[in-house]
């Protein structure tokens, strides 16, 4: 029974070959990401509201606890992870799952290698963020200290949870390539929408970093 595909489960022709209709998975992902933007809008609003209520000086003094160089390096790491992610999409679009050359030959990388790179960079970002949190807590600034710490941990923490979710999504996309006998259109679409999500999370971080770490 296992080898028999039922009619309901087969996917018809790839959606991009159907004329004049975008793929519904990517439309849904974009609309969902737009709603995610409003979720982060609420967090930005929390930050600005608490700032206007408590006064700029209180927030500036608290932002002095931040290790800005560390976070700047972390920002570069996260932003740079978008590049292997996009190269992975290009590989997925030409249906190249794995590398055809040596592991040092970037030009012949497939989707797996690029996504593994993006995963590693994202994981380093999370590790450094956990380190940042633990140093802040060790210095006596837990989330319950004041309004600034609440806003800081909530905003960056929810972003960190999103990055963690993206890491799991990378694993799912990679896991599918190992489970399947061939690279399906289904996997290509999943890889592309995960890249949308990853780029989105990246852009949100640039916004958070500018507001919390740079403007203070």
């Amino acid at each position: 029974m296992a080898a028999v595909a039922t009619a309901t489960a087969t996917q018809a022709a790839p959606a991009h070959r159907v004329p004049n209709r975008p793929n519904l998975v990517s439309v849904g992902t974009i609309v969902w990401l737009a709603s995610e933007l409003m979720f982060f809008a609420a967090l930005f609003a929390v930050y600005f509201t608490l700032r206007s209520v408590n006064g700029d000086e209180v927030f500036k003094a608290n932002a002095g606890h931040l290790n800005v160089p560390l976070s700047a390096v972390n920002t570069i790491i996260l932003v740079s992870s978008s590049f292997p992610c996009q190269f992975g999409v290009f590989a997925a679009e030409r249906h190249q799952v794995s590398r055809t050359g040596s592991i040092l030959n970037f030009r012949r990388y497939g989707m797996r290698e690029w996504y593994a790179w993006a995963f590693v960079l994202g994981a380093v970002f999370i590790a450094l963020q956990v380190y940042e949190y633990s140093s802040l807590v060790k210095d006596g600034h837990p989330i319950s200290e004041n309004a600034w710490t609440s806003a800081f941990y909530l905003a960056t923490g929810f972003h960190g949870l999103h990055v963690t979710g993206g890491l799991f999504a990378f694993l799912m996309v990679l896991g599918r390539t190992y489970k399947a006998r061939r690279f399906s259109h289904d996997q290509e679409v999943a890889a592309i929408v995960v890249s949308y999500y990853w780029h989105f999370v990246d852009v949100v971080w640039i916004g958070l970093f500018s507001v919390i770490y740079l403007i203070k």
Partner: protein, 132 residues
């Protein structure tokens, strides 16, 4: 889809003009942040739709002489008779109830949530439905 893109562009422009006006009238950081991001919300969807319509061309909804049947056909793939969304939603509901009510619930909910995600993502990659 051209029309859909234009609708989102109009709303995006509306929010874009709203932001400075609202800030000038109220000096309210909360609403200003929300309006700025609402501009981003519409702008993002507009950008995606405009980019996609350039790639795949205008659809029947953009033509005055189009017939309803031109929009017929397969819209996408929706997994029929799948129980995984139910497992996933139940796990998620238990997880968030745990966060709100008592954290001990999360330890019991997490496996269901993880199993739901795994089941949904790999539904057609394993077991009797495997066909890739």
């Amino acid at each position: 889809m051209k029309l859909t893109a234009r609708m989102f562009l109009i709303i995006a422009v509306f929010f874009f003009l709203d932001v400075p006006l609202y800030w000038w009238l109220s000096h309210d950081p909360t609403g200003t942040a929300a309006l700025t991001m609402a501009f981003g919300l519409c702008g993002m969807i507009y950008f995606y739709l405009a980019f996609t319509v350039r790639r795949i061309g205008p659809g029947p909804e953009d033509r005055d002489d189009a017939e309803p049947h031109e929009g017929a056909g397969e819209q996408g793939f929706f997994s029929p008779h799948s129980w995984w969304p139910f497992v996933l939603a139940a796990g998620g509901a238990a997880m968030f109830t745990g966060i709100a009510v008592g954290f001990w619930m999360c330890y019991f909910a997490a496996p269901f949530l993880a199993y739901g995600v795994y089941g949904l993502v790999f539904e057609y990659y394993r077991g009797e439905n495997k066909h890739y």
